[in-house]
């Protein structure tokens, strides 16, 4: 039985993994060619959207002293996605918090740095409460003319790509893979899955507080994203800080959840849902993830399947397939 072509490489401060099955249409080139094209596209997107690279399109936008700036297509897409994400999440997924991130200790990339212990962090004395939107909601000051690729914002207002960039990249690449029997685009844990054959694919959710996996399910097509504290957490003073900022306070959010995995139609939407759900805490997260399903990891270590996943038996336990279509 032929296997999918697999290509993996470092990018987005993490790993990218491409899985491509056999062509199913006359116009689909060999999987090797599709993978090479996809990798080139992803490298271009990374070069444009990294806030840590001063030469990226995003960094040039953030540094531009003009109020209205012409941007590249990837940057325009990111800015549009950032605005949509803030609107859809009630301001929780806020891409204008770079100042707060830097005050918390995230001024430069933390790739290669050993994160602090999440288990120690959840035992520390951090009051738990849901995050809220920023009172000033500076994302509302961003205007985008997508057709002309013009961004208008107050000079000095910086936009962060965050996890949106990875989800967006996965979706953009997946658009070229519809002619293959199966595909998966994994951009640092943000997944876009699909394929002509409609075969279910096993998705395993990492457990940030213990060995093994938190959950697993089979997905036919859609997006999956995981937002959590584990990989970007560090000691700060006598406590801990991490990269998921509560827009209302400008400080790291401690909501009682340490990781959320969300399913959606696209990887971008899944990223927004996962981050918003983690920031709003368990009760609101269950409502947000009710439509497509998700996995909540509480800081107690409890793992909770919600929405469509609540009734799904893990394939390893039952031996039967209950595929999910996001």
């Amino acid at each position: 039985m032929p296997a999918e072509l697999e290509r993996s490489f470092a990018l987005f401060g993490s790993r990218v993994r491409l899985l491509i099955g056999e062509p199913r249409t006359d116009s689909a080139p060999a999987p090797e060619i599709a993978a090479a094209v996809a990798e080139a596209k992803l490298r271009h997107l990374h070069a444009e959207l990294s806030r840590f690279d001063p030469d990226s399109g995003l960094s040039r936008l953030n540094a531009d002293p003009r109020a209205r700036v012409a941007v590249s297509a990837p940057v325009a897409l990111l800015v549009g996605a950032a605005i949509d994400a803030a609107e859809a999440s009630g301001g929780l997924v806020d891409a204008t918090l770079i100042d707060a991130l830097e005050r918390c200790g995230y001024a430069s990339s933390r790739v290669g740095e050993e994160p602090a212990s999440l288990a120690d962090a959840v035992r520390a004395d951090h009051p738990r409460h849901p995050a809220g939107p920023s009172a000033v909601a500076r994302w509302r000051e961003i205007d985008l003319d997508f057709e002309r690729r013009l961004v208008r914002r107050p000079p000095g207002l910086r936009i962060d790509s965050g996890g949106l960039g990875k989800g967006l990249a996965a979706d953009l690449v997946a658009r070229q893979l519809g002619g293959y029997g199966s595909f998966a685009v994994d951009c640092g844990g943000d997944l876009r899955i699909g394929g002509y054959d409609g075969a279910p694919r096993l998705v395993e959710v990492d457990n940030p507080l213990g060995p093994g996996e938190a959950a697993s399910f089979e997905l036919v097509r859609g997006g999956v994203a995981t937002s959590g504290l584990r990989t970007r957490i560090w000691r700060q003073g006598n406590g801990f800080a991490h990269h998921l900022i509560d827009p209302a306070t400008g400080t790291p959010a401690w909501t009682g959840l340490v990781q959320v995995t969300a399913l959606a139609t696209t990887a971008t939407e899944a990223e927004v849902s996962a981050k918003a759900a983690l920031l709003e805490g368990p009760s609101a997260a269950r409502l947000r993830l009710a439509d497509h399903g998700g996995v909540l990891v509480h800081d107690s270590g409890e793992i909770e399947l919600v929405g469509e996943l609540a009734g799904v038996t893990p394939p390893a336990a039952s031996g039967s397939r209950q595929p999910v279509v996001a």
Binding site: E22, T25, D26, L229
Partner: protein
Amino acid sequence: MDPGRKPRTLKRIPLRLALIRVAPISLAIAVLALGGLSLQLASGNDPALAPKRASTHSKDSSNSPLRAVSSVPVAPQSQPVAVTPTPVQTSTS
């Protein structure tokens, strides 16, 4: 491009996506049995991932970010060979 069309938000689901998005598990299995619904994502020079909120200057605010089109499957090049998809992992990074 329709300048009068109200931009969508992530909360509103175009019907063409809703058909896929809310399909219950039983329907998904039935679809698989019938040979599947092909999601042909629009491609082209201009990315179809248009943001849902457009400025007052923008003409088009209506394009779906992912223009999914259900289509009749095209005859494959050769007899399809079944491939078991490789498992994937999702985690924070």
